[in-house]
Symmetry: C2
Subunit: 268 residues, 2 copies
Amino acid sequence: MIDTEPHHISPGSVIDLHDISTRENGGLKKKEGKKAIHKLSKRLVTLQELLYAQKKNSLLVIFQAMDAGGKDSTTRRVFSPLDPSGVQVKSFKSPTQREQLQDFLWRIHHHAPRKGFISIFNRSQYEDVVAARVRKLQPPAIWQGRFEHINAFEQLLTSDGTVVLKFFLHISKGYQKERLQRRLDRPDKHWKFAPSDLKDREHWDDYMQAYSEAFERCSTNAAPWYVVPAERRWYRDLIVLQTIVNALESLQMSYPKADFDASAIEII
Amino acid sequence: MIDTEPHHISPGSVIDLHDISTRENGGLKKKEGKKAIHKLSKRLVTLQELLYAQKKNSLLVIFQAMDAGGKDSTTRRVFSPLDPSGVQVKSFKSPTQREQLQDFLWRIHHHAPRKGFISIFNRSQYEDVVAARVRKLQPPAIWQGRFEHINAFEQLLTSDGTVVLKFFLHISKGYQKERLQRRLDRPDKHWKFAPSDLKDREHWDDYMQAYSEAFERCSTNAAPWYVVPAERRWYRDLIVLQTIVNALESLQMSYPKADFDASAIEII
């Protein structure tokens, strides 16, 4: 079993993302990592079935990252072995005009997973304390108040049986350059690129600072944040998988007992 | 390439499900079938990316079957290799009180796929002309009028770029017995069984008749029905996969051209 604790942001700790590795491999070889991923994937398939069969708990996984950090590919690689009937992926874009007429958690709450199901958020309420802050879409008085709203909201979810796990896929500015350049070099990848993607890059350090504060304020016992070194994709997948499997194992789920006498039923 | 045409219900044809095989293998060996499935799965992954990149079309796949016909396992086996971000599975249960205050297509329409996406319906509007009829939930005057509403609705979807494919996973009454018995024999499968599941079984012939008429009335050029022999799971998966791949290939999709000059962009 891989130790995911080094990547966990302990509640109350003070961090600077610049000091956290983006390329670490946990002392593992890629081959060992791949083998562990294969085993964990199979276990996750079973845990999903138990989650669905019991309908007592649900799982919410949140991914945040800078552009090209791998939110899409992590989602694909970690969750595609699962039964698609029980998985819903929601990508949050800029709020629509309609959504702006409600509090910032309104549209988020709508997509919380029901019991038995898994929801994956590709971006989330954390855009409202990070991008909203860096791009100056909201005054400090507004976004500063949101940390507490987020914590209370996540507590509401966990009190109702939702396991909430939050992952920041951490890459360096240099690695992002490589990945974006690759999209430019390959015509079949152009559709993934928009020149406006480069704007956030100009404010890299502001983003790192805003994310650091968000993790300090919102990594709680109920809903922990993990900063995952994301430049080695196999290591990134492994940490995400192991964290999810650990959390679901701790629920100690079992198949529900029948409320009928199976031996008394005759199928005609 | 596997010929799926023998399983297609041609518009205007008259059928009796009792005459259609539930165990056919198309003259293939299982090993050949598995090899073809592997190839088609890989191709479907690429076609999904093209669908998403272009955002001109979408795909709606409808599954209907008697209990234990394999709607869940076909969904899992055909769609789990895909990117879960682009796939939404909707299981339709009995309409809620709220839904009963609207026309029968209202709740269905809401889940139509947006451009670039794939929706899978586990049960669908066809319950409203099959189960509603057999269980006498609606008088004939009501359900008889619905065939035309369904055809007009599906035409609306296809006119907007949605590929609509409908599959009936066809099993025999004897095969259903085996499958249900298996659920009773295994305590870890009890949660999949409800004694009320046996009710529809008592009306097997009525269901076959209602389904036959639904396929006759609603297999259109725009939105064809396929009756898939579903007792050999590999053959069932193969026919579903091949039909979907054929339909998506016929769109002749390609990656969109960039609306910027990639060579002029410098990433700083």
